[in-house]
């Protein structure tokens, strides 16, 4: 065993989790009352973990930077949550969900974790229905499903385009019940600024009260980080404005390895960038690819005419359109996985077929679906020979019932009616598969420090399938952590309360105060956003959808320079001991400026293309990603060594015993 021990239990894959649960140590209910757990982040993973741990009897403290746990960005997930229920009888199974997830992740995830995820997926749906989550139903009263990219079955449960919202409100409600019982103490508008280790174990955090600016010490027997992903590294992304890597990065600096930072998901269906003022990008759910057809003009002159406003997309004849996903990937068509769809859009736009004024947009067209649904509806309503206008009207009603809120959102932002003219979409940063390295127990390389949900790296490999983020967040929080953390805490039943009056807490608090002081005293000339935007440009241009050795090298150097400039010339207005959004942003951007460099280094180090990581140097003659299984079937886990560039690489070799590793094909 090296430094990295994944602690995967022995035995056949399908029995590992059951066997594990039967063999772990448990903490008796009376002892649980003497054990404290801190959960940072209250999205799906953190909220569900906090609620479940409190139900079990632990004393839980939750922390979120938002004004309420209900506002964590899980709320914005639109499309759905996967579960191997096989309610549709279309051949789904735990194995198939496991297989799809490992294959979708381009064979860079850990087999045992993914299988456990698939196993517990069915319990998620049962649990959420019991909580009163209003999933979409059919007329018979049973749950409805839809299909997502990269799979051939319908296993996605949904609540219109607001699935994340409904699941999060379910977890928030479960938390509320425990807050009312006094088992959870919820700290809102609080941000974790450092992790505290005592005798090598995670024993607490330093947090800043964002309203008063007070620096607070909080102790516990274990710390769970469920703080989401780091996509805001790119400045423009579909993340919420406050999303940050601070908690994970502080843990990294205290000894937690950071895994696969370069594995980032660029989502194919987002609303294109409209100008320099843009502060964020908006996703259009992948579920739209169930019915929308993606295309660009087949001729460059038509694309040019559309860009200059001389031609409307609806005027283009069928034979003059290039449905490039259907052309390149006939088996999966518009439902290829996200990384494949994103790259294909970039390829067409780079070749000059883009359809908006910036040349970076493709069409997502619902016309065929509207007519198809309209004819179906006319038939079931007993209409004989309805005219096209009636069919279209009926079809628009069906599409509105399915995707109404998404269409409305699109129209509000773009000021175009997507029922009448095709939507324009372009890829945007959406999710990070990389994150803190964790073992089978979801524990980082720091004993007692756990990472759950998007904050860890474990389940999605190099590319995540649609509707799997919600699944993983809830699986980790409801069904995995409550077991694994108990096994660890069984050693702590005699420890007693952890004091915050120790040198370790003092050192961490001083560290935090010094850093704030340094930010406040820089008194330079540029705002925090100035640096964030610059960093985002470097990331998008050199570490985005396609990467190469030369540009990655440049990115590393440019980010290091930018970071130096930031600390000398940033201007943070206001006071440290009061509400101060500029100071909050400054701390987050300072961390991004370190992570960005590690990200580029990780991408530089991985001399292959896999999933969301595409290196120009490694592709097939058809332009598909070319993996190098012989040399890169491992997780890159980086150890902090004082400077991002000095980080030390540890490798967790991945072995596949239950699945045949082959070239991922969606043709």
């Amino acid at each position: 065993m090296g430094v990295l021990d994944s602690k995967v239990p022995a035995g056949p894959l399908a029995d590992k989790w059951t066997k594990y649960k039967n063999e772990i140590d448990l903490v008796n209910p009376a002892n649980k009352r003497n054990i404290d757990v801190i959960v940072v982040g209250t999205g799906l993973a953190g909220g569900s973990a906090a609620a479940t741990l409190a139900e079990l009897g632990y004393n839980v403290k939750t922390f979120c930077y938002q004004d309420s746990p209900r506002r964590a960005h899980s709320i914005a997930a639109q499309g759905g949550v996967n579960a191997a229920k096989n309610y549709q009888g279309d051949g789904d199974s735990v194995y198939r969900l496991f297989y799809d997830t490992v294959k979708g992740g381009d064979y860079r995830s850990r087999e045992a974790n993914v299988h456990r995820l698939a196993e517990v997926s069915t319990s998620i749906i049962d649990q959420c229905v019991a909580q009163g989550v209003p999933f979409a139903r059919e007329y018979g009263g049973l749950l409805d499903n839809r299909s997502f990219g990269g799979v051939l079955v319908s296993r996605t449960f949904y609540a219109k385009g607001q699935t994340g919202q409904q699941l999060l409100l379910g977890a928030y409600a479960a938390m509320n019940r425990q807050i009312q019982r006094g088992k959870i103490k919820s700290y809102t508008r609080h941000e974790m600024l450092d992790l505290v280790l005592v005798d090598g174990k995670a024993r607490g955090i330093i947090a800043r009260n964002l309203v008063t600016g007070e620096i607070e010490r909080h102790s516990a027997h274990a710390v769970v980080l469920a703080t989401g992903g780091y996509g805001n590294l790119f400045f423009l992304s579909t993340y919420c404005m406050g999303a940050n890597v601070m908690a994970a990065w502080k843990a990294h600096k205290r000894g937690a390895f950071f895994a696969n930072p370069c594995f980032t998901q660029i989502h194919p269906t987002c609303i294109p960038v409209s100008g320099d003022h843009q502060s964020k990008l908006t996703l259009m759910s992948e579920s739209l690819r169930n019915d929308g057809r993606i295309w660009v003009p087949a001729k460059k002159e038509d694309a040019e005419a559309i860009r200059t406003g001389k031609l409307k997309p609806t005027e283009l004849a069928e034979e003059d359109r290039d449905y490039y996903l259907e052309r390149r990937y006939p088996a999966f068509g518009n439902l290829v996985p996200r990384d494949v769809a994103s790259r294909a859009a970039k390829e067409r736009c780079d070749a000059g077929y883009g359809v908006n004024k910036t040349g970076e947009a493709v069409y997502l067209d619902f016309d065929a679906a509207i007519m198809r649904y309209g004819r179906e509806k006319a038939l079931t309503s007993g209409m004989k020979n309805p005219d096209d206008k009636t069919v279209r009207k009926l079809g628009e009603e069906v599409v509105e019932a399915k995707y109404g809120n998404l269409f409305q959102m699109y129209e509000k932002i773009v000021d175009q009616n997507p029922y009448k003219t095709p939507m324009m979409i372009y890829p945007a940063v959406h999710y990070t598969m990389g994150g803190l390295w964790v073992d089978y127990n979801l524990m980082t390389t720091i004993p007692g420090c756990y990472a759950a949900g998007e904050a860890n790296f474990s389940d999605h490999g190099a590319n995540r399938l649609g509707a799997s983020a919600l699944m993983q967040g809830l699986a980790d929080g409801y069904f995995v952590l409550p077991y694994t953390i108990g096994d660890y805490l069984s050693d702590d039943i005699r420890t007693g309360p952890i004091s915050t009056e120790t040198s370790e807490f003092e050192e961490a608090e001083k560290n935090v105060r010094d850093r704030i002081e340094k930010l406040m005293s820089a008194k330079g000339e540029h705002s925090v956003d100035y640096y964030h935007k610059k960093l985002g440009k470097i990331m998008w241009n050199k570490c985005g959808m396609a990467r190469n050795e030369k540009e990655l090298q440049e990115a590393m150097n440019e980010i290091a320079e930018l970071r130096k400039d930031f600390w000398e010339n940033v201007k943070v207005t206001g006071d440290a001991d009061a509400k101060n959004q500029e100071l909050e942003k400054a701390g987050r951007v300072a961390d991004f400026l370190e992570l960005g460099e590690l990200f580029a280094m990780d991408a530089f180090d991985r001399n292959e293309s896999c999933g969301g990581h595409f290196r120009d140097e490694y592709q097939t003659p058809e332009g598909e990603a070319l993996r190098d299984d012989k040399n890169f079937t491992y997780v890159s886990a980086w150890e902090y060594k004082g400077d991002p560039r000095k980080a030390k690489l540890h490798k967790e070799e991945l072995t596949y015993e239950n699945i045949e590793v082959k070239t991922r094909s969606y043709k």
């Binding site: 309420s68 649990q127 999933f135 919420c240 000021d415």
Partner: protein, 248 residues
């Protein structure tokens, strides 16, 4: 376009606030309203002044964080959207725009345009849940068939984002629409029946304790709600409340 802004500035909860005037140029119609404020803030920072603080996060209309009163209307002039979805194409060159925080006794101002809405959390904590523990073995999800209409109505109530526009719109600062949306979500589902009586009594009690006003059926909340939560929910909550009170 050129705009004249009048914005509420308040250092903290204990300091008196006032309206301040700003002139802003070079605003494009494609910008969102919050991006316009970003431009203002960059401008203020460059002059060494403190930027205007306002709550915002997802910027796609779902988290419920943003909360601005614009020209006297919660979330501004357009209907069925939050401030972050409002675009500057809804305004004209030369317009004067008045921006205030939510005004309600139960929502004290924290700073500038940011208010404290934790009263909403406490109402939810009083009973906005179904008491079911996490376990690997609850009944199968499809063992409880639910009529599609009821499921859809429950979903519609559940789409409340907890932004507080209903309270801000109400002349009495009543939180009836917010509270009734949660009560309705569960009242419409079989899973919610067991605790229905306690739920409505406890949530209404907490709502009153927080200092929200009474409902006088003016319906301003429904008009301003970015998610179109219907007044029917208030009627349903009143029925539930009456039934629960009679039952004792």
């Amino acid at each position: 376009m050129k705009l004249f802004l009048k914005i509420w500035r308040q250092k903290n909860a204990n300091t008196k606030g006032k309206m301040m005037e700003y002139t802003l140029e070079g605003i494009e119609s494609d910008m969102s309203f919050l991006e316009m404020l970003d431009v203002l803030n960059e401008d203020l920072i460059s002059k060494g002044e403190e930027p205007v603080e306002f709550d915002h996060d997802c910027r796609e209309g779902i988290c419920g964080t943003c909360s601005l009163m614009i020209n006297g209307r919660p979330h501004g002039p357009d209907s069925m959207i939050t401030v972050c979805q409002l675009h500057m194409r809804s305004f004209n060159d030369g317009d004067t725009i008045v921006i205030e925080p939510w005004r309600a006794k139960a929502f004290p101002v924290i700073k500038d345009l940011i208010v404290d809405r934790t009263a909403f959390d406490r109402i939810q904590q009083a009973g906005g849940y179904i008491s079911v523990n996490t376990s690997g073995r609850p009944v199968d999800a499809n063992a409880i068939p639910i009529e599609k209409d009821a499921a859809d109505a429950s979903f519609n109530a559940a789409t409340c984002i907890g932004c507080g526009a209903c309270v801000a719109a109400c002349k009495n600062a009543s939180a009836m629409l917010f509270t009734s949306a949660k009560v309705s979500q569960f009242a419409l589902l079989p899973q919610g029946q067991v605790e229905a009586a306690d739920r409505v009594l406890n949530m209404v009690k907490q709502m009153d304790l927080e200092g929200f006003g009474n409902c006088t059926n003016t319906g301003a909340c429904e008009v301003e709600c970015p998610k179109g939560i219907s007044l029917e929910n208030i009627a349903r909550m009143n029925r539930e409340y009456l039934a629960a009170s009679v039952k004792g």
